[in-house]
């Protein structure tokens, strides 16, 4: 079973969102479950810093040996930082999905909607695996 940290929020697209409670800037990555499903990640494309995104926009992609998936903006706002380390070493998504494998930070605009709790995300993924 892959881990689902209690203190993060989640999306149906298997991303995690950290720092949603302070309401300012959030960090986004993909979950351990998603990383396991993808297999070895070989390429990560992150959005441009400064870009304004709407929740649900495809803003990047993560590519593994067998497949490629879009990365979606889980919340609306402005991209304020991206993780150049994960672009240089995409395997960080596999080895540390909730830590060094983070993808980008968004300065949140408006109220985020439709995020899942750890328990809700656990229910979602237990039905899929």
């Amino acid at each position: 079973m892959s881990s689902i940290p209690e203190d993060l929020s989640y999306t149906k697209e298997h991303e995690w969102v950290a720092g949603i409670d302070d309401g300012l800037t959030v960090t986004v990555g993909i979950t351990a479950y998603a990383a396991e499903q993808l297999g070895d990640v070989v390429y990560v494309q992150v959005p441009e810093t400064g870009a304004t995104v709407a929740a649900g926009d495809a803003v990047g992609e993560v590519e593994s040996t067998k497949s490629v998936s879009d990365i979606f903006a889980p919340v609306a706002g402005e991209i304020v930082e991206t993780n150049s380390a994960v672009v240089d070493d995409p395997s960080l998504v596999n080895t540390d999905p909730y830590g060094d494998g983070w993808l980008f930070r968004v300065r949140v605009e408006g109220e985020p909607e439709d995020l899942l709790s750890a328990a809700e995300y656990g229910t979602l993924t237990s039905g899929e695996s």
């Binding site: 390429y43 494309q45 067998k66 490629v68």
Partner: protein, 363 residues
């Protein structure tokens, strides 16, 4: 309903990610598919290929029946030797690619892909009518375990009385492996040295376990279909359903050499293939190396100045080259002109055309 091989329980114990492949639950990977790929290149990998089909053709005219049914010249194949060949329909379209092993004077084993062996068996039965030969599909009785990589011979040697070192590439001999009767073939689909062991289902687990034990200190790891696919792609080997389909002839696939017009008698597809050989193909299967890091994948259009000039059949990040690689059918005109790109989800990424294979092992 998915089928399982006799090794399903072993894969589950090893924590494999299973995937449906041609109606079979097969191991996609056990851990990191890149690590499995690299282990086969540098040491050895252990594969369960029990989903493949084994069809036996026996009798005094078995060789002649295969000459008629397939594009190759199998009646002149030496005993204990193997040949890569194909079965085509009347239009010359590829029904499957095969390895045919001549077990002895009047006994052959045809190994077909999981997705096709029922069709192959049916066609072989129909096409051998009138020959003194008998076709028996024994796919359900046989498991296939492969050990592939530079240390494969070292791993197998201690488990069998058979002369592993004397066995030539594309040859086969019967032997006992870890107590089980086996057909031991020096063939594979990885671009490395290696062996394929055909054993009855009940022997699959003990043979797998014995190989695992023998390879423990030699870097042997279990390897799944994901690694198998990237290994064969680097080795420039076609996959049925990707490079090979019923709408392609062997000439389209750059494999016209397997068609033996010089053999006596008629064979199924001969007249269509003679036309195909004469006309020349308007498209060709080529290797592509991407300049960027995004991967051209199966089904993506090959483009030139925005116009579609071909299609990617297989693509993956290559461990050995450190770049994305692909095979694709591309029009001869576009190949002459150059400047090819692949439409990777809307953006046209530059690629270079290279000779196949992408990877060749050092002898």
């Amino acid at each position: 309903m998915s089928r399982s091989t006799p090794l399903r329980g072993v894969h589950e114990r090893l924590g494999a990610t299973l995937t449906d492949f041609a109606g079979w639950q097969m191991p996609l990977r056990y851990g990191s598919e890149s690590a499995e790929h690299n282990a086969v290149r540098t040491a050895a990998g252990l594969f369960d290929l029990s989903h493949m089909g084994e069809i036996f053709v026996t009798g005094p005219q078995a060789g002649e029946a295969l000459d008629h049914a397939l594009v190759g010249h199998l009646s002149i194949l030496g005993p204990a030797r193997a040949r890569y060949t194909m079965i085509v329909n009347e239009d010359g379209g590829i029904l499957d690619d095969l390895i045919v092993y001549r077990l002895d004077e009047d006994r052959y084993m045809v190994v077909a892909n999981a997705s096709n062996y029922a069709v192959v068996a049916r066609e072989l039965i129909a096409r051998s009518e009138g020959y003194d030969a008998r076709v028996t599909d024994r796919s359900d009785e046989y498991a296939l375990v492969a050990v592939q990589g530079p240390r494969a011979a070292e791993i197998l040697r201690g488990l069998t009385d058979a002369d592993v070192d004397g066995l030539k590439y594309y040859a086969i001999l019967p032997g006992v492996v870890a107590g089980a009767p086996a057909l031991i073939a020096r063939t594979g689909y990885t671009g490395e040295d290696g062996f394929e062991l055909f054993v009855l289902n009940e022997h699959a687990v003990p043979v797998w376990d014995a190989l695992t034990e023998a390879g423990r200190d030699l870097g042997l790891v279990p390897a799944g279909l994901s690694a198998r696919d990237t290994l064969r792609l680097e080795a420039g080997m076609p996959l049925y359903g990707n490079e090979l389909t019923s709408s392609a002839t062997p000439f389209d696939a750059g494999l016209g050499r397997v068609v033996r017009f010089d053999k006596p008698g008629d064979f199924v597809g001969r007249s269509a293939l003679e036309r195909a050989a004469q006309d020349g193909a308007t498209r060709r299967l080529v290797g592509l190396v991407a300049r960027g890091r995004r991967v051209p994948r199966h089904g993506y259009p090959v483009t030139r100045e925005g116009a579609v000039v071909g299609e990617v059949t297989s693509g993956a990040p290559s461990q050995s080259l450190g770049k994305p690689i692909a095979m694709a059918y591309v029009s001869e005109d576009a190949l002459r002109e150059g400047g090819l790109t692949v439409d990777i989800r809307g953006s046209h990424e530059p690629v270079d055309v290279v000779d196949l294979p992408f990877y060749r092992r050092s002898k």
